[in-house]
């Protein structure tokens, strides 16, 4: 495996309620990675989330189970580190999964990170993980890690990204890794 990236799709959100990738997620690659740059919500203190689809984006209710943990440091030097319940999902988690939470909406506040999906056409469950850094509305940096799997043997062929409240700006690019 070379680790070479192939750009499949690029999206620029500008006051967008969501960004969907409904093509290009198939058996062409064993691994996909999304890069997120300057993700800035219109609503303060909101969460950036994703959902998966097995029918090309007709609906996004694929069951998943996830973990969430982070390191946090405020600009006034208060720290927090460890597993975070409430931003993970049990097996009945057919709703959104957080990638970044508490994102600030000010003109200098944003989040950035990566999101990997492994073999979305697998006959096994489909694993994913992410790492984001967040400038949050409570004026702190958060180094946030999410991982888990879509608990389905069906394909994952579409992914949606959005804020849980309001619109957002930013750039999202999807690559295949070969």
């Amino acid at each position: 495996m070379s680790g070479k990236l192939t750009l499949i799709s690029s999206a620029t959100a500008s006051g967008s309620s969501s960004i969907e990738f409904t093509s290009g997620i198939d058996d062409s690659f064993d691994e996909y990675v999304f890069y997120f740059v300057d993700i800035n919500p219109a609503t303060d203190n909101t969460d950036f989330v994703f959902l998966g689809s097995s029918n090309g984006g007709t609906d996004y209710g694929v069951d998943k189970v996830t973990t969430s943990w982070r390191a946090k440091h405020t600009e006034s030097a208060s720290t927090s580190f460890g597993y975070v319940t409430g931003y993970d999902h049990p097996l009945d988690g057919t709703e959104k999964q957080w990638l970044a939470y508490g994102v600030g909406s000010d003109s200098d506040e944003s989040t950035a990170g990566i999101f990997h999906i492994f073999n979305p056409s697998s006959a096994y469950v489909k694993h994913f993980y992410s790492r984001f850094n967040v400038y949050s509305a409570s004026i702190e940096t958060t180094d946030l890690f999410i991982a888990g799997y879509w608990n389905t043997t069906s394909v994952i062929d579409a992914v949606q990204f959005k804020m849980i409240s309001g619109n957002f700006d930013g750039v999202i690019q999807m690559y295949g890794i070969s």
Binding site: K4, L5, T6, L7, S10, Y35, V37, D38, N40, A71, K72, H73, T74, E75, S76, A77, T79, F81, S107, D108, E109, S110, T111, A112, G113, I114, R131, N133, Y135, E140, T141, T142, D143, V171, Q173, Y175
Partner: protein
């Protein structure tokens, strides 16, 4: 538009006090890969900082960061995962450590990857790092560092150095997502 990571620059410090990368344009994501980084002085920190100067760079950008690491000693003891409050920064213009207590033995070194997101952005500039190094009392240490340059000015250059003495190694700069 670039498909893959593009190699932009390679620095091979040999007894160098610091390494600068002064072109952070043309891409929205940069990756710096550190290979065989070996200090001349034992028990030192490997650090970086940013500049917003157009030239004659001063490295003094305000940052808020997190730092945690996993550790394990060669004798099989002291396996642990800990947040390190003495290696993070809160609105500091000082250098951010990517490792501490580095060993300078002939077989001791550091390796890792630092991602920097959109240094030309009008938002803060996010970064994160993961690496591994040979600590000077025979540990392996696996640090995770992240944070943001708290400025709306463009970050124009990065500087890497030990907090004391010179170092050898290879540092490669890559770009992704052409801007």
């Amino acid at each position: 538009m670039s498909d893959d990571w593009k190699l932009l620059d390679t620095s091979t410090p040999s007894g160098a006090s610091s390494v600068e990368f002064t072109d952070l344009t043309g891409f929205k994501i940069f990756k710096f890969v550190f290979i065989d980084v070996n200090p001349a002085t034992d028990n030192v920190k490997f650090q970086f900082n940013g500049s917003d100067d157009a030239s004659s760079h001063t490295y003094d950008i305000t940052k808020t960061t997190t730092y945690f690491d996993a550790q394990h000693k060669q004798d099989g003891n002291y396996g642990a995962l800990n947040y390190k409050t003495n290696h993070d920064l809160a609105q500091s213009t000082g250098y951010q450590s990517l490792g501490y207590e580095l060993g300078n033995g002939s077989d001791e070194c550091l390796a890792g990857e630092l991602h920097l997101f959109n240094p030309a952005s009008t938002y803060v500039k996010h970064f994160y790092y993961v690496g591994n190094y040979y600590q000077n009392t025979e540990y392996t240490l696996n640090p995770y560092v992240a944070g943001y340059f708290n400025t709306t000015s463009a970050i124009t250059a990065l500087n890497f150095k030990m907090d004391s003495g010179n170092f050898d190694g290879v540092i490669k700069q890559y770009g992704l997502v052409a801007s």
